[in-house]
């Protein structure tokens, strides 16, 4: 019996692994080492990676409209000039060296946690080779451009580094995967933060529609523009129905050429709904330029509604409850109990676009136009930025005050665009 007992206990002990008892015996887990000392987490010491190429030299490899894989072992280094913390940059960051700047399409949220403004970033652009086998484990990054367009109204865009986009929708795609990012993108020591100082530039430094880094070294760089005046126009593209392609002309409403009552730097969902239900955009036409046979936001053509959403029409004719629900959606208030629901239903038929826009409400990017001398500059902001609903001071709107902007200078189809990191980058000159 004793022998059996010992055998059984010994067997049980043999089958036990130490690791499974770690959570049992660990009452407090020790804090992991800081990357600054451990050099883990893709952090590299100074000199461990040596750049062999400037950003301008890399960007110069790109030919308009021809995204390309970087097949050579090219290494660039630069300091981060942007932050996505306030939410105006999204899934990408810019780095710059003496020669120029480039956008890294990392494809992750909250990049500032790992890539703080002023931190040093190295990018090994070429293919990743397994040192043990000599085999290529990852392709090289792709150079491409966002916003390049040919034709009379076209021009250059901004050079980016990302991955291949086999769908052809864009010239490059986001890196997205940690594995890809960490195979190509390396961070300097967390203690080595040197904030990028913006270059103050003037109208003459601004890029032409066909400019490249070779011609305009400020492209993609953090710069300050001084003394801009408000251009009295915005640009916003609304999508009517979330269940239809954003590319369909009849699913689009352009708010352009005037301000459309938008007096904030950008527009949150709440602000968007406020404008809609106030009727600020009722006059805006549905469809791309030259394709405006669908009516407007406030007065959609009934034939178009019948074709697109006949149930909407039918329900408005048959159901008082439905009319009341649409009424509340469209006007933001409860339908008076004394109202004639059939008459209201008739009126609401042409409010279909507004009804859809409310149901598909979201935060929207807004471009506010400013002028620097004779040059027009589009200030781009995101509807999800933390300052989106901050009002543009009345003095600016009325042209009584100018603004100084600090941000990233880019080109989009040859037009100058400007993206600020935060509201602090907009200085009002009263």
């Amino acid at each position: 019996m004793k022998r059996s007992f010992i055998t059984i206990v010994a067997l049980a002990a043999l089958l036990t692994s130490c690791q499974e008892f770690e959570p049992v015996v660990t009452f407090k887990y020790d804090d992991p080492a800081n990357y600054g000392s451990s050099l883990a987490g893709n952090v590299v010491k100074p000199g461990e990676i040596t750049p062999n190429c400037t950003i301008a030299e890399l960007a110069a490899l790109y030919k308009n409209g021809q995204p390309m894989e970087i097949t050579e072992n090219l290494i660039i280094a630069g300091r981060v000039s942007t932050t996505d913390k306030p939410g105006n940059f999204y899934k990408s960051l810019y780095i710059q060296d003496e020669s120029g700047a480039i956008e890294l399409k990392l494809g992750k949220n909250s990049l500032y946690n790992d890539y703080a403004p002023g931190s040093l970033v190295y990018v090994k652009c070429g293919p990743v080779i397994d040192p043990a086998t000599g085999y290529k484990t990852l392709k090289g990054l792709y150079l491409g451009s966002y916003g390049y367009k040919t034709g009379n109204y076209g021009g250059n865009g901004m050079v980016q580094l990302g991955c291949e986009d086999p769908t052809g929708s864009y010239e490059t795609s986001y890196m997205e995967l940690d594995y890809i990012i960490k195979s190509h993108v390396f961070r300097g020591l967390p203690t080595d933060i040197q904030p990028v100082e913006p270059a103050v530039i003037s109208e003459s430094d601004l890029p032409a529609a066909t400019a490249t880094l070779a011609k305009c070294p400020y492209l993609g760089k953090l710069v300050t523009l001084k003394g801009l005046t408000y251009g009295n126009q915005t640009f916003t593209l609304l999508y009517i129905n979330g269940n239809e392609s954003n590319k369909n002309s009849k699913n689009r409403v352009f708010l352009s050429d005037k301000t459309w009552g938008i007096d904030t730097w950008a527009m949150s969902k709440t602000n968007f709904l406020a404008h809609l239900t106030a009727g600020d955009w009722d006059e805006a036409t549905i469809g791309n330029s030259g394709d405006t046979n669908y009516g407007t936001v406030g007065s959609t053509k009934i034939d178009y509604v019948k074709e697109t959403d006949p149930v909407y029409i039918e329900n408005l004719e048959k159901s008082a409850d439905y009319v009341a629900q649409v009424y509340k959606t469209v006007y933001g208030t409860v339908m008076p109990s004394t109202a004639d629901w059939k008459a209201e239903g008739e009126k609401l038929k042409e409010k279909w676009c507004r009804y859809c826009l409310v149901n598909n409400a979201n935060g929207y990017s807004v471009s506010q136009y400013f002028n620097l001398g004779s040059k027009e500059i589009q200030l781009r902001t995101s509807g999800f930025s933390k300052f989106c609903d901050a009002a543009i001071p009345q003095s600016v709107l009325e042209g009584k005050a100018t603004v100084d902007l600090t941000g990233i200078l880019t080109l989009y189809q040859g037009s100058i665009q400007f993206v600020v990191n935060s509201l602090d980058d907009i200085k009002i000159n009263e």
Binding site: M1, F5, I8, V9, L11, A12, L15, T16, Q19, E20, F21, E22, P23, V24, T26, Y29, D30, D31, P32, A33, N34, Y35, A40, G41, K108, S110, N113, D114, A116, T137, L138, K139, C163, E164, D165, P166, T167, E176, L177, D178, Y179, I180, P190, N243, S245, S268, K269, T270, N271, D309, P310, V311, E314, N315, K328, F384, K386, F387, D389, A390
Partner: protein, 1001 residues
Amino acid sequence: MSKKVFLALAAFLCSVSLFAQGLPGGVTAKVVNRAGRVPVQGATVTLSQGGETVAQAVSDQDGKFLIEFLKNGTYQLAVNAEGFLPANVNVSVEGFVRDLIFISLVAENVVAEVDDSNFAEFDMEDSGYSDNPAILYGSNDPYNNIVGYGFSDIRFKNRGFNSENQDVLLAGIKLNDAITGYSPYSLWSGLNEAMRAKDTTIGLEAHDGSFGGYNGVTNILANPSSVRKGWRFSVLSNSALYRLRLMANYASGELDNGLSYAVNVSARLGGNDWVQGIYYKSLSYYLGVEKKFDDVHRLAFMTFAAPGERGAQNSSTQEVYDLMGDNMYNSNWGYQNGKLRNARVRTTFEPVFVLKYTATPTEKLTANAAILFRTGMNGYSALDWYDAADPRPDYYRNLPSYFWLDDEVLRQDMNRDNPFKYAAAKEAWTYNPNVQHIDWDHLYNVNYASEGGRAKYVQQERRTDQNDLNFAASAKWLTNSWFTLTGGVNARMNRTEFFQTVRDLLGGEYFVNIDNFAERDFAFSEAKVQNDLDYWMAHGSAEKIGKGGKYGYDYYAQVRNLGAWANTKFDLGMFKAFVAGQLGYTTFWREGLLRKGLFAGLDDNGREIVVDGIKLTSYDADGNVISSKGKSEAPKFLTGSVKTGAELDFTGGHRVYANVGYFQDAPKFNQAFLSPRTRNSLIPNLTTVKTAAADINYQLSNNGYEVRLTGFWAFIKDQTDMMSFYDDSHNSFSNMALSGINERHMGIELGFKVPMIVSGLNLQGALSAGEYVYTSTPTMTETIDNSAEVVVSDAPVTYWAAHPVYAKGADGKYIIDEFGNYQVEKVQKHYVPSTPQLAANLALNYRTSSYWFFTFGANYYAHSYLDMNPLYRTELAVVGPDDHLTNAVRKEHRMNWYMNETVINQGLSPDEISYMASQERFAPACVVNLSIGKSWYIQRKYNFGFSLEVKNMLNNRGIKTGGYEQTRLVSSQSYERYYRFDSKYFYMPGANYMLNLYYRF
């Protein structure tokens, strides 16, 4: 046999001796199993007076015994039988043979041990689904004996019922969780010895201590005098749950001074061979003391708890399991400084205190009263993050399938067309532990680098701390030989605080108490994103939360129950019957302790709250203020239930009985609120759950043959369900409230034990074959925590109970009739999930006279279904973005599954229905098990033994034990349809062992 002969002889000699004295007094009774009143043959009956044995007898094959020729006076009658707990009865002899009618024995749990810790902690909290094990106990029933433990590996739910339908009593108090209704087995997990004594009923059977429901009653006696006398030590090791369990138990039995006491302690420690990250660090204790004051009064006090930690197991998609080459992969853990750490840990310390008083003023009247108080903490940790990347390793955007699909049509329509990233993701998942598991080091380093020490990642703890006060009283009165009346009252007052704390700052210095879900949409308003608006208004900034601090949400769930029940039993020898009824009253309400910026409600003076020109007070569609703070409306439910049963007993141990009942149950708190974390709003159409149930049974118990065959039926109406899950498309928790869920459960169960030719060899088996289906079209309302909007309002879940399957010809094309309509081949039912609807066991059991035992058998499981996501059964999801159905077509389709080209042109096709609405059925599985054990008796005093069980001997690692559909839709490039997210699964461990060594004296 020699013992029986000796006892019979002794009884005979005593009888002869007393007869010679010409004494007419005596005592007689029938010894029966409390479960089913089956006669117990061979029970030893010892009559004593003043500690001296006066007479002994042994019950015959009908369970009867007779002791005659007694002097007048009071005697103590002790009844002992193998497999049953001892029973003690006081008897007054007054010059005639007193017929005690029945002495009911409670079965000792002779089947292998099963308790809450037999079930891994499945991490389903953010999925919207729940998985609470339903445990079936033995009670010497041939079916329950096998099913209770034998099917626990598949998480079997008897008759398809959830655990909230099973009444669990402790010391006579119904202890199902006040908030969820779940069986509260975790409260005494690991205390197998102290909680071993139970009396149980099956299905609708009447129970002496409560009204019971339609899914049986388990009453755990828990008093020290019911704990097995003596010392017992055991060491248990197993490879599928926790490595080591150490247990010690001592019970005094009833001492001469009427005192009994018992102590039971245990520790469960370690992980297992199959799921990394699962571990137990749990202790359990039980202390009980009981005093019998005289022949009438008895008072007992018990306290117990199971404090400790359990690491939880997460489910993943099949893609992840395949990438890891392991169906038992657990995404909840990672290495921190090289040590394994689980992010999802259940930490509990919920002590329970029970005071129970029993009075037996006469032999025919027994009364009990008990007070039970449960308190303490129950926490469940999880990672939380603010403005940082999703740290979950198996987040769908990290997986290869996010970048590439083999099916060309799907690849194009779902825009998953990047083979390079697919290959990279696959490579990373294959080789990189920081991709496969949580990268704790990275989370810490993000916090280290964060400006001002503000933590971006924390480990939170979601707390559910109950204060639960219960009272129950019952009485049993044997009015005469054929009529027994039992009845009782009960009351419950429960206050459960739901809140969230920072368990670990992960290297950060503080966490900020804002609603990071709301910040995305309301970043412009600092007030709106506050979790504690009152604090923000008083201090001008959100609170900085340190370790242990509360944040996020904090509210009380207040529940009050009152009940009364009565049961009348008739016993006319061969014919028995009962009629029972119950009345109940339930009310509950939410009491918000924080004012959230999003649902600020009205201020203390009843005015709207406006901050910086922004109105924070919001209203629902009916114009009611939506409020997070203060008391909600308190719905009230009056319920009534009745049940009745009849039984015919035949000679030879045959018994036929049938029961029928109608039950009303109030909805539970956790099913009643749209978004309890954030607001006071109740779900629409809240009503009582109505159940009609019936069963008919045949039972045989004779000469070692044990058989039970049951047919059962139940119809459950008007259930509600509330699913709350993290939805990263909304960056928030989504809440789906379902109303009007009806189910029908019917089937048969068979249990048998048949002696074979060889002595000690038995063939035993169990079969549960049922059909548990949904029968209604419920309605669904969906809300999001960070918005007052109702995303889906009271919409029918058209394809919940069934979906049409349209006929196809030999060419694979749909058959269209002369009118252009598609032919419905069948209406495919949808099934109640998460349990096999067909489960069977067959085994050979051999016991030797030298105390060896062997059991070798196999279980077969089939007809198991995946938990359904209601969203996938709505027209919204099935028809897709191109929903242009006219009202007439929609109505026609709902009525008779109308389908033709018109319907297809309006956006709905047979393929879409089949793809989106179908329910996954798991493949059948067979599991082979072997048990072996032996006991050694030393000097007739010490007992040492072991049992070794090898489960799933064929090492089948592809058996799904559960899972769920993710509650998300994937958009298509064509805008014509939606796609599903991949489902997630749990699997059964492969070959595993459980070894138990015990020593008792």
